[in-house]
């Protein structure tokens, strides 16, 4: 998109720009004229009661939900109906789901390797090196070849690693629903 057409916020270096966004589910309006700017390197927390639209907003940023009005710009790319735009945003946005949504038939390492191999074209060896590096950062590298249901550590770390692994090294942001869930540990036999 030509630089002069980007919103002023983007021109100021904001990574995520939400401008007057509206999202409706039938007659119910989940997001009503929402505005948000997230700067580079900035970490923000969205707080609100249940049903206030926090998850809907996060899902709109990743285009898992399609916003109805106005625009969302992520790292200079405006989310539209163009698949190329949507995928270019998703390649740079990591997402951790509330229920983690790990792939149960793949090991933890394979969960982290799938997207880099299929989306970014990395070789299996490169993808595995990258996956193990990220798992080492969250201290679950010893769980790499286990399946999610066999892991002794709660799946949020694995889910976060998968989300980060899918992004490019310069990925702009990651969204994490219910970050306090990472404080829970569960013991598996």
């Amino acid at each position: 998109m030509p630089r002069e057409n980007l919103s002023h916020a983007t021109q100021r270096g904001a990574i995520v720009v939400v401008e007057n966004v509206v999202k409706r589910f039938g007659a119910f309006t989940a997001l009503n004229d929402v505005n948000l700017e997230v700067g580079k390197g900035e970490k923000i927390v969205l707080c609100g009661p249940s049903g206030s639209g926090k998850s809907t907003l996060i899902r709109c940023i990743n285009h898992i939900e399609k916003h109805d009005e106005d625009r969302i710009i992520v790292d200079g790319v405006e989310l539209s109906n163009r698949i190329a735009d949507i995928n270019s945003v998703r390649c740079e946005v990591g997402m951790v789901f509330q229920s983690f949504n790990l792939f149960p038939h793949l090991t933890v390492a394979e969960n982290c390797m799938l997207a880099p191999m299929k989306v970014r074209g990395l070789s299996q060896a490169e993808a595995r090196d990258r996956a193990l590096g990220l798992l080492r950062k969250v201290r679950i590298q010893d769980q790499a070849d286990k399946y999610p249901h066999n892991c002794r550590v709660v799946s949020s770390n694995a889910s976060r690693s998968r989300g980060r692994c899918a992004c490019s090294p310069r990925s702009c942001c990651s969204t994490n629903r219910h970050p306090l869930s990472t404080l829970r540990w569960s013991r598996k036999c």
Partner: protein, 230 residues
């Protein structure tokens, strides 16, 4: 009083063995054709492709409503006539009993497998699809590497159960004068007069194979029950 005499089995084994091999070959071919075609049919219904989804639903409903033996008769007698009309000269084009059996069994099982896989697709957690979207995986990669492997793993006990039924159904090829395990035993029984012995041996063979497969079904069920429990 007649006593059982199994000594006749010594010279009957080769013919029974050839019949068993035919049954197993037909089962394997029908399984392969049924699974590939059934997966395609299930995906078309899953994606709700206009017109094709309705046609496939109708096909599955018809096939699952009529006995296999009737489908075998239809294919053997009607398809040559239809092909003859389509070719223009009106003369029936024979397909042959063996091709009829393999094609008919494959098409028949495809309807059943497609229903198993279609329900399996519906049972996959919506979060799996969202995770694939969030990772920018293509539709092909989503189904090839994430969704279908999960469907096939979870549905494998049901698919194997259906395959056991398929193996037992191969005995129906006698209507096409083909010789499977039961057909071989019938012919030997008529030849040597030892009906009870022949049918007992065949029953034991079916029991052994089906029981072994059922044990695999139970093992698969237990494995995936453990895998999905947290």
């Amino acid at each position: 009083m007649n006593t059982l005499d199994f000594s006749i089995l010594a010279q009957s084994w080769p013919y029974l063995w050839s019949g068993l091999l035919f049954s197993l070959a037909l089962t394997a071919a029908a399984f392969a054709i049924g699974m590939v075609l059934g997966t395609c049919l299930a995906l078309v219904q899953h994606f709700e492709i206009p017109l094709f989804a309705q046609i496939i639903r109708g096909y599955v409903a018809v096939i699952r409503s009529i006995p296999l033996i009737l489908v075998l008769f239809w294919f053997f007698f009607l398809v040559p006539i239809v092909l003859g009309h389509l070719s223009g000269n009106g003369r029936p084009i024979p397909i042959g009993a063996t091709y009829t059996a393999f094609i008919t069994f494959g098409l028949f099982e495809a309807a059943y497998y497609s229903e198993i896989i279609r329900v399996g697709l519906l049972a996959v957690n919506k979060g799996q699809f969202e995770a694939c979207q969030a990772l920018a995986l293509s539709t092909y990669d989503t189904y090839r590497h994430v969704v279908l492997p999960q469907v096939l793993r979870v549905a494998s006990p049901i698919i194997l159960s259906q395959t056991i039924i398929l193996f037992q159904d191969t005995s129906l090829v006698y209507v096409l004068s083909l010789t499977d395990l039961l057909g071989a035993a019938s012919k030997l029984a008529q030849l040597n007069g030892r009906l009870v012995e022949m049918y007992l041996v065949v029953a034991v063979a079916y029991l052994a194979i089906s029981s072994a497969a059922s044990q695999c079904v139970a093992a698969l069920r237990k494995r995936y029950a453990l895998a999905t429990s947290r």
